[in-house]
Amino acid sequence: MKKFFALLKVSVKSMLLSSTNSQGGSRKRAATGVGAMVLIAFLGLYMSGFYSSMLMHALAPVHMEVLVFIFMGMGALVGGLLFTAFAVKGVVFGGKDNDLLLSMPVSSTMLMASRVSAIYLENLLFALFVLAPAGAVCTFMTQSGVGHSVLFWVRLAVAVFTLPLLDTALSVLMGALVAFLSARVTRGVLGQNIVMAVYMAAVFWFAFNVNGMIEGLAANAAGVKESLSWAAPMLWMADGIMGDWGLLLAFAACCIVPFALVVFGLGRVYRQAVTAFAARSARNDYKLSAQSASGQKKALLAKEAKRFFGTPMYFWNAGIGLIMLVAMGAAALVMQNDLREFIGLLGGALPVMPMAALAMGFCLCTSAVAAPSISLEGKYLWILREAPVDERSLLWIKTGFELLLSLPCTVIGGVCLIIALQLTAPEGALLIFSMALFAGCHAAFGMLMGLTFPKLDAVNETVVVKQSLAVMLDMFVPMGVLGLCALLYWLGGRMAPALALALPLALLAVFTGVCVLILVKKGPAMLKAL
């Protein structure tokens, strides 16, 4: 067991350090790591609390609180799967220290178990963030008083600790499939993109239909529960949390058995699996033809584009906001009559153009393309340093690449919203201008965060794109700026109508100006110092 815990310590430490920057002292690294964890925890708790209370509000009156735990359990399972399935390919099967650790005198099952346990801990955190708020909501919003018993929390804790076992088992199997496809299929990237597109479409569909579903749920809650018999373990978990110890034990067995089978089954063939997934043989049938030349800037931009579109992890995490932006515009056009009817019902209670700007700004915030681009260079940074290109050009190309993606999406999404919401020409122009300014500010700020909190020693791109502090800050600080803009709009509106728009615009202009100025003055030196 001593060896197992030593291996687990290495895996967990590497996971915890993944969100810290690779520069600076241990205190700074620890602080940035804790900061990133707090941000994730806050977001997870908030989102889970919001949906749990919405569900509980509809279901508590018909005494079907159990459905809240079924849906939140499913949410934790699917969310955890999304978080870790693609990470498994890098962490469990593609770790850079695989050769080193496989050469050590430890069994491959133990090595596999230590790697899988690190994934389990990540899923455990996610399950905790999703199920704990559901428990709190159940405690405060039900009349049955079930949540007031200590045993309720014990049963919830059992669910929180066992659900991630099932999640981890499924993640490892999916990750093994992804690793196998990546190694064997010529168009592996395309396959991964299709899987992610299907998943995202399902998430969007769920998000757009969740309100209607909740209304329907309250009307036919018992029928819905019966129709979920295909997800029996989730029903057992929910009934178990609500008081049925037998079903809770059955659920625990449903989680522990697959986990054990995966660990011991795949553990026995871990060495063979790692070898097979790593063995990509180069073809030798290439025929050289006349090559064409292009300029330095075009080559560097093409390289950024190849990395962005050729790395599913990067594309789907950094590009999702831009996809949402265009999808939102298209959806607004398709449902423009419903939208106008809804706005009419509000009777001018909400300002339409600023609300559209907020929605667009939120989408732009979630598109951290420039922020991880420095860390993604990692071990390849020597190529750019050796090249006859000055640091300033490199920074502008990376920042410019985000703008090349975000500005067209901003214009397309914005024009769709202008048409759908029937905004006047000045309002429309203002919407596009302010969001283009915000896109510029987001790109420049992201670049600065990438330079300030680099993660050049990351073991894989998942760590950089999903967990790095630079990406977190690039998402949440601009969201804070949007919130400040909303506050200034409200304050300005109380003083003079013109100020309502002028103040947020001035804030955006100042923030963009400051980011660009720092990037111009300090950026090249910061890049050189990495």
Binding site: R280, S281, A293, Q296, P388
Partner: protein, 237 residues
């Protein structure tokens, strides 16, 4: 071609990796740089290549000061680190074109040179595959081809023979000689003393960051071997 004058490099924390190094590499010369592990060879090569900043001294390549005119210096230089990590999301041919674009190499010239060096290193057939599928040796060969197609005035190599098969090593030595006949220079580090003795016109030996001996290979070695001279200077014999 390369002038290193009183170059020193101190790492954060105060450790002096290289101390007051001065050496000159003339056009047409192959200059070997040898020393024990941690002596400061890689630190020096990386500073010359403009990959790493340094604290004191000046380094000029073909008249371009590495600090004052880094882009000009890099334009006439090619650097190959000891373990070249290349973009795994690119195909071999994409990487060569990427490098060629950065160095403004005309289409006709790059096609000709890629064919020449690709065939010589037996890599042309693999250029259509992603670099992620390459073996260590294939990556080394690709990095070498990317260096040769630049037709550099100064070629800087860090342990270039590691990972290369004997045939590729032989071909590389031939191309290094060709490069020098064309008026360029080669500055490389190695632990393979026999190769250094046969290949280099000049040799410098560095110990604990300080230059302990340098000069023409014949004069430096004299009647003994480079191995004997090296071990004697290192104090191991």
């Amino acid at each position: 071609m390369l002038r290193i004058e009183h170059y020193s490099k101190t790492y954060p924390g105060g450790k002096k990796a290289v101390d007051d190094l001065t050496l000159h590499v003339r056009p047409g010369e192959i200059y070997g740089f040898i020393g024990h592990n941690g002596a400061g060879k890689t630190t020096t090569l990386r500073a010359v290549a403009g990959v790493m900043d340094f604290t004191e001294g000046t380094i000029t390549i073909d008249g371009h000061d590495v600090k004052k005119d880094p882009v000009g210096a890099k334009r006439v230089t090619a650097f190959l680190p000891d373990n070249p990590d290349l973009y795994e999301f690119m195909k071999g041919i994409d990487y060569l074109n990427f490098i060629a674009d950065l160095y403004d190499i005309p289409a006709e010239q790059r096609t000709k040179d890629i064919a020449k060096y690709g065939d010589a290193f037996e890599l042309t057939g693999n250029l259509g595959s992603p670099i992620g599928s390459y073996s260590h040796g294939m990556r080394q060969k690709l990095a070498l081809i990317s260096a040769f197609i630049r037709r550099p005035r100064l070629l800087i190599l860090d342990e270039p023979f590691v990972g290369l098969d004997p045939s590729a090593s032989h071909i590389m030595k031939g191309y290094l000689a060709d490069l020098c006949r064309g008026g360029s220079a080669v500055f490389f580090s190695t632990h393979v003393l026999e190769v250094a003795e046969k290949l280099c016109h000049q040799i410098a030996i560095i110990k604990d960051g300080r230059l302990v001996k340098c000069g023409p290979t014949d004069e430096l070695v004299g009647d003994s071997s480079l191995e004997d001279v090296f071990l004697e200077l290192e104090g191991d014999k």
